[in-house]
Chain length 357, copies 2
Amino acid sequence: MTRVFNFSAGPSTLPVPVLEQVREELLDWRGTGMSVMEMSHRDKPFMSIATEAEADLREVLSIPANYKVLFMQGGATGQFAAVPLNLLNGKSGDYIVNGAWGVKAVKECAKWGQANTAAKPATFNQVPARETWTLDPNAAYVHYTPNETIEGVEFHSIPDVGSVPLVADFSSSFLSRPLDVSKFGVIYAGAQKNAGPAGITFVIIREDLLGTCNPLAPSIFDYKAVADNDSMLNTPSTFSWYVSGLVTKWIKSEGGLAVIGERNRRKSSLIYDYIDSEPFYTNPVARADRSWMNVVWTLADSTLDAEFVKGAAAAGMPGLKGHRIVGGLRASIYNAMPEAGCAALVDYMKEFVRTRG
Amino acid sequence: MTRVFNFSAGPSTLPVPVLEQVREELLDWRGTGMSVMEMSHRDKPFMSIATEAEADLREVLSIPANYKVLFMQGGATGQFAAVPLNLLNGKSGDYIVNGAWGVKAVKECAKWGQANTAAKPATFNQVPARETWTLDPNAAYVHYTPNETIEGVEFHSIPDVGSVPLVADFSSSFLSRPLDVSKFGVIYAGAQKNAGPAGITFVIIREDLLGTCNPLAPSIFDYKAVADNDSMLNTPSTFSWYVSGLVTKWIKSEGGLAVIGERNRRKSSLIYDYIDSEPFYTNPVARADRSWMNVVWTLADSTLDAEFVKGAAAAGMPGLKGHRIVGGLRASIYNAMPEAGCAALVDYMKEFVRTRG
């Protein structure tokens, strides 16, 4: 078996020790005589898995006691609906838009209330400067996307929005570095980048924001109902919950988010520094706002894009094609991408420019 | 490793060959160098898995060409919302209620329109006779629950509702026997009983019913949007999709739904026949409406329930506790429960009545 360096934007690479443990336990989890996939979500074995996954997540993120952690389904796109359904409560929502996902979030909010685009740069290659935001002090919340996967743009600090609850779609940078959860009203994230397989969605919500759900919301999106039922209002995505719990344990075993964050900074710098040194490659993002998770670039000759991607895949580095919206190339280097993968990519880029540049 | 006979109501037991294949492929799916969990849903390897899963499902259920198959998230509880959001279109919905899940479906529909309870027996131990149904010929659809998991009541034939689209929550009897899909407008089912792990929800919908979604519906619940995007409007629950595809292949390898259905009839008869022969045990369901999937019963002395459940678990048969709503005992004997499991249960029941009855 040869493992590749998988640069997919998500679902994407997972830590090998996690996959090995999943394999080891697949037909018989700790002597229960059954797979985790086969467990009733209401019986003790799965309850222990679920509880431990939450406890570990609370530990690695230092989640304050006045926040609930929900394990939901439907991904960030589901949350684009759930957030306004739960929080608008007759008010409007302010949206900071710095990429394709933010645009989608605004559209979904507009179904149930007023979605104000409080900031939106003409091009999505930087985060909009805080002083340009036109925030409504009476808004129900301010929503932003800390990392835009497609454009490779990331907020490297948490914006100050005063007393209005800050809501963040952390899908592609969740668990990628330490985070002060207390600055947020709601954090949500699909698992399939840094935190596990697709199929489970994390919602971390300050308790005082529960209980204002629009009565028209589908029950599975009612944060309070989900919280009151310990994320078992209906059958949760049990296996994804389990695997994501193992990923959180792996983060702990690596030394926690401080270590992970520093590694992610180093990994991305390795690629950015090379891109900046080589005129054949260009990254369009403002330096201060470059993503640690998704490194995007173009070739001096875009007709070579397909050859670049194909050659990389043949060399054991699949997943480098840029998103169809922006084209070009993209390396998604989430937590489980080893530094050796980033180094191998730079070597390939050097060789490509030597032979084809 | 000792495998148990797992009688959980769901998630529940899966075919051992499926679990073995999942284990075998876990770190490297067919030489791709990655786990299915790590695959981009938009790249060829996962696309081939997804396409094959749909083709196999179409084959085993003989799904007509004018039906779309959707792979969604959120379970049946999500569909309780999605069905009225997509189909009501200003009309009302008729609901046949013969158990706890039907009750929930009605409540969710009532958020967006008129939900008529067209039939509902005083007690949920039989299916309501067709001639008692007060159907509205102008209803958008007639909804029913072919198998009620909690009460162990099952429709053994498809009701005739004329030209109004028939909508069925098949969660707990999906793929349990041959089915004439052409009789239905919409079939939906969570996978976690007969069809795979939790986290993926099947929707089979006649094409002419697409396109009437309430504009207020969350995007992930818009059947047409999901269909137009081949169930990849957003990241699907990829690993559950894959495993459910393997389960469908297992059904094919067993000889298809005719063989599976006959086996399920035999398995349930084995237990029902014994219950009927032994006064210590009682099944409350009308004989013609007894479920092939969930066999419920009570003990002559209900104070022994806990001992029965505990002793069975110790003997390698966990999951027999009845649902908290109805109490008593329940054996869920989905497709992957072998006949030997049902025989072992009957042996245990005999021994229990001999020593404790």
